[in-house]
Every structure is written in C-alpha cells, then in structure tokens.
C-alpha cells in the first residue's frame, strides 16, 4: 500500500523540523514507534542535511533556503505488516503565502490534493497578535497613555490617524490558514472529505498554559477551530501538539540537559491518546481513516 502525505503550513510553521525529527526517529530506531523504517531508495542527502542540523542542535534550514525537495520514506507497521511509502512533497511556506496573497498555486499541488492524500497541516504555537484591534491595544495601555477618540480634538485626531495601506500580506495568520483550508473545498481543487492532522508545532512553548491541542486551537486560532468544526463534511481532522525540536535552541542550559539523552526522546507529541515521542502516530491515523 502506498500512502502519500502532503505537508502544508505557512512559513516557519515547523514543517521541515518535523521531517528532520521524523527521519531520525525511524532511521535510528531508538524508541518505540508505530511505524518503522523499511527501506531506502534514491538520494537522501536532503534528509541527512536537515537531520544533521536537528541532531546537532542547529536551526533546521528552511525549505526556502534549501530548495523544495520531495521526500520519500518507506515505512512498515510491524503490528500489521502493512507497508507504506510516505511521500512528502516539502513545499516552502512561502508557496502557501503566495497562494493566499497572490491567489496562485502550483498545478502539481492541485493534482496531489485531488488524490485524497492525508494532510499534515502545521501551525506554529508561537502566535503573534496580528489581529489585535486598536481598541484592544488601547485598553492594555496605562490610563494616561490611552488614546480616547472622545477626548481628542478633531485636529489632533486627524493628525494622529495615519494608516498603512492594506496589502494581502497583512492578513492575520489564522485568516490565512482558513483561506488555505477554504481553497481546498472549491475549484480548481476537487472538493472531497479530506483527512487532516493539524500539527501545532513548538508545543513546548504552550506547556504552562495547560491546554489540550484542541483547546489551544480554539483559544489562539478561534477562526480555524470554528472552520474545522463547522466543515465536518469536508475535513476529518485530529489535532496534535508537536515539539519536534524538544528544546529552545537559544537556551544553552536546556540543550545541555538533554545532551546525554537519546535524541528521539527530545521529541514530544500530544494527541488524542497518550503523550509520546512517536511522530509516526499522526501518520498512522491518517493511514487508518476510512475514505
């Protein structure tokens, strides 16, 4: 059985770091995984390059820096004997930015999506408040700094109101993500019920919030959460929190603490079941969902 996966997500959403960690995980076989490495074909230099950066605590080069690469990993489920050929077209996040902002996409991507492949959709947990209203911002300022439209004179009001021109790049991240999902249910994409594993990356940053991945999405990306809930006819989804890097690379003490442990143990994934190091779990889920 061949199972292909499509990786989607805006720039810096953790797509390549996930691939690097996944490659190390299945290749090193250090911890228990639902899927195991079966065999290798072709050129693995790209996977080795990103995995090396991951193992040596360097920032994994972004796909836009290395050039887009298609990655194929042959996997096997030892419990069932089921084999899977995981094909990841590693598209740069900028490709998805262009899809939203310029309303264009690669025909090959349209074709891949028409095959009803499982989708790994990455969202970075390190969100910016890009949708903050002026009213909300003013409310956070100390009283003396608050700008009240009522108390301002007409002239000072006009002087102080200088706006940037709107451009599509100003769309808040959650709106961009909803646009990407919305595109999948309209031509030229073929509307169908798709399987999506929503991967909230840099999950270690959210630890203090004590939220499940589902609650995190509802709290920090409410538009995306509402969209997925209300489009059950088009999307069968599971939400995972993923920390593929495991530590903040800028935090030397944290890096030192994990140096002597197995690299695979740095990986954390929080899903609907128990927490684990097994990044293949969402792949198994994507493979298991009946069409």
């Amino acid at each position: 059985m061949n199972t292909n996966f499509i990786i989607m997500g805006l720039p810096s959403s953790g797509k390549t770091t996930f691939l690097a960690a996944l490659w190390h995980l299945v290749e090193a076989n250090e911890v228990k995984c639902r899927l195991k490495f079966e065999s290798c074909h072709g050129n693995f230099s790209y996977l080795h390059q990103i995995a090396e950066a991951w193992r040596t605590f360097r920032r994994v080069p972004r796909t836009s820096q290395t050039g887009e690469q298609d990655v194929i990993i042959e996997l096997i489920n030892p419990d069932t004997g089921q084999k899977a050929r995981a094909f990841f077209p590693d598209l740069a996040g900028e490709t998805f930015d262009r899809q939203v902002e310029e309303r264009i996409c690669k025909p090959a991507f349209v074709e891949e999506l028409s095959k009803n492949n499982g989708i790994l959709f990455f969202i970075n947990a390190d969100v910016k408040e890009d949708g903050l209203s002026i009213g909300e911002l003013n409310a956070r300022l100390p009283a003396e700094a608050q700008i009240s439209a009522i108390s301002s004179g007409e002239d000072s009001y006009k002087e102080s109101t200088k706006f940037q021109e709107w451009e599509p790049k100003h769309l808040p991240a959650q709106v961009k993500i909803v646009q990407l999902f919305s595109d999948m249910i309209r031509p030229p994409f073929e509307p169908m019920r798709r399987r999506v594993a929503v991967m909230i990356s840099a999950w270690d940053l959210t630890r203090e919030m004590q939220l499940t991945p589902e609650h995190w999405l509802a709290t920090h990306m409410p538009l995306v959460s509402q969209f997925l809930r209300s489009n059950h006819d088009y999307f069968d989804y599971q939400i995972y929190g993923v920390s593929a890097q495991g530590v903040r690379l800028e935090d030397d003490q944290a890096v030192d603490r994990v140096l002597h442990d197995l690299p695979s143990r740095r990986i954390q994934i929080v899903g609907p079941n128990e927490d684990s190091n097994d990044l293949t779990e969402p792949l198994v889920w994507l493979m298991s969902v009946k069409e």
Binding site: I134, G135, Q226
Partner: protein, 316 residues
Amino acid sequence: MTDETNITDANEDDADVDVFERSGTDVSQEVSTRWAELPVSSTLTIEDADKFLCWKDAAIVAIVGERNGGKTTLVTEMYSCFLRGSFADNLFCHSLSLSGFEQKCFQSRAASGGLHPQTPRTSSQEGLRFFHLALSNEAELRRRDLLISERAGETYTEVRNTPEYATEMPELRKASSVVFIIDGERLANPRLRQEAFASVRSLLRAYLLITKVCSQTQIQLVTTKYDLLEGEGGAGAREALETFEKSAFGLVAGKFDVRAFHTAARNPAAGSQPAVGLAPLLQSWLRPLPSLSFKSIPMPSLTDEFDRLMLYRGEQ
C-alpha cells in the same frame, strides 16, 4: 474556464522569443514557474453573487443608508467577532470574501499603525458588492449563508433624490432583510437629528415604492453608534428616536415584519465592549424564511395546454 486560461505564467513578458533557440533548461524553468489561478477572495460582484446563488441558497441582506452612517463598520465588526470566537450562538463556517472583510477591517487593527479605528470609505465607483459569510449554528451545525450588500452611501443619497432609482437596485428587490441605518452620530447632534430621520424616511418610502405587495422581507431600523446617545445628555435623542421608530413602524405596518435595533459596533471609549447589539441583529438575518406556498401565488390566466399543469399545483 479552460485549463489554458487557468494557468498563468508568473514571469510573463511580451518580448519576442524564438522558442527553438531556447535551451532545455529554459523550458523546464518556465514550466516550473507556471501557476494555477485561484478565485479571488475580495467582496463579490453581482455576477459572483449570481454564480454563488446557483450553487447555494443564501439570505440577502441589504444595508441601506447615506454616507458615514456606519454601514460597513456594522458588517465588518460582526465578522471580527468570529476572529475572537463563536458569536451570536454561531460558528464561522466559510467566506468567499475573506480578503474583502480584512481590507475593510485593517484600519481598525493595531497593525495598521493608526491610533483611532476607522473604516475606509466605500467608493460609489465600486458599485454593488457583497460580503459573503456562512455560519453554522452551534447546536446543530446547520449552515446558513449570508450575502450582505456593500454600496457607497452616495448612491442612497441619489435614491433619496430620485426614488425611482431604487428599482435599479437588485439587492433591494431580492433581500430577505433590508436594514435602514439611522446614524447615531447625527442623532446626537440636535441640529442634524431631524435630517437624519428624514433621510431614513425618504429611503424607506423609496423602498415601499418598489415593493407594492406584501412580502416575507423583514425591515430593520438599525441605529448605529448608539453609545453616543447614552447617558443623561442623550435623553432627548433617545426620546426623538423612539418617536421616529413608532412613526416608521406605522409606515410599513401590515406589509412587512419590522423591528428596531440599537447598536454600537465599535465604541472607542476605553474598556468598552465591541459589537454591542450586533448579536440579535445577526441572528435575525439568519432566521429561516417561511416556505412560500405554491397555492399562495395568484393563478394566471390559462392560455395553453401547459398552463393546465398549474391546476395540479400543491397536490404532490
């Protein structure tokens, strides 16, 4: 649209090139720079809205009022509520005009660099456009689509002056909800108050001119910027508004379902809540329309054999 028109070359230029002299590398680079076009996500044109209605049923909401009344702000603030979570017992489901909403919202965002929230003025050159908003009720996830009109206030000033122009406005003929905006800012000023009422009265009369029969359309008198009428200072304005609402109800009584709403979509006062009064208004737009009985359509004069089929109406 053919596949050919669907594909554009992002680096297209008009220079003459002899393709037989181009290397294989050039050709492969050109192929790799080809892109498929996707539908734009700005506000919908009339043609877009027609196409959409062929695909899905939608309630059309016409927002009527002269310039600076807060028509666009009313709609964009409803949309903005969904960026913070569910609203009016509904979940955001879909929008074909996400960029259209965002473009109009941007000057209310901190990212715009502005100090006071604003909404860009709608130009009369844009003609009639629509915001699309699909919502699902939280209880049953039942989807309902809205097409909300977006038109420059100057056009409605022309309708005030020449009521017959209203017949050329498709959104008025097809709307299930017609919202007449009463500008709270003008009501707050005693010198402008009666003119604000006169504006709504004229537009209401123009609407009645084009809808002579009773219909299922709901008429809504929506006072915007109501925060400016609150407190002791606004007592006179509130009283005048109440009197005006009663007289307007009398104008359409028996012909339409009519309701008044008081809203403050974007109150600039520190610590104030956004979208005050918008939830019941949005819910009223989403109400299911009572199904039209075929029997209630007047029987035309029967002139040929096919017309006899009308005799079987409602019997299935």
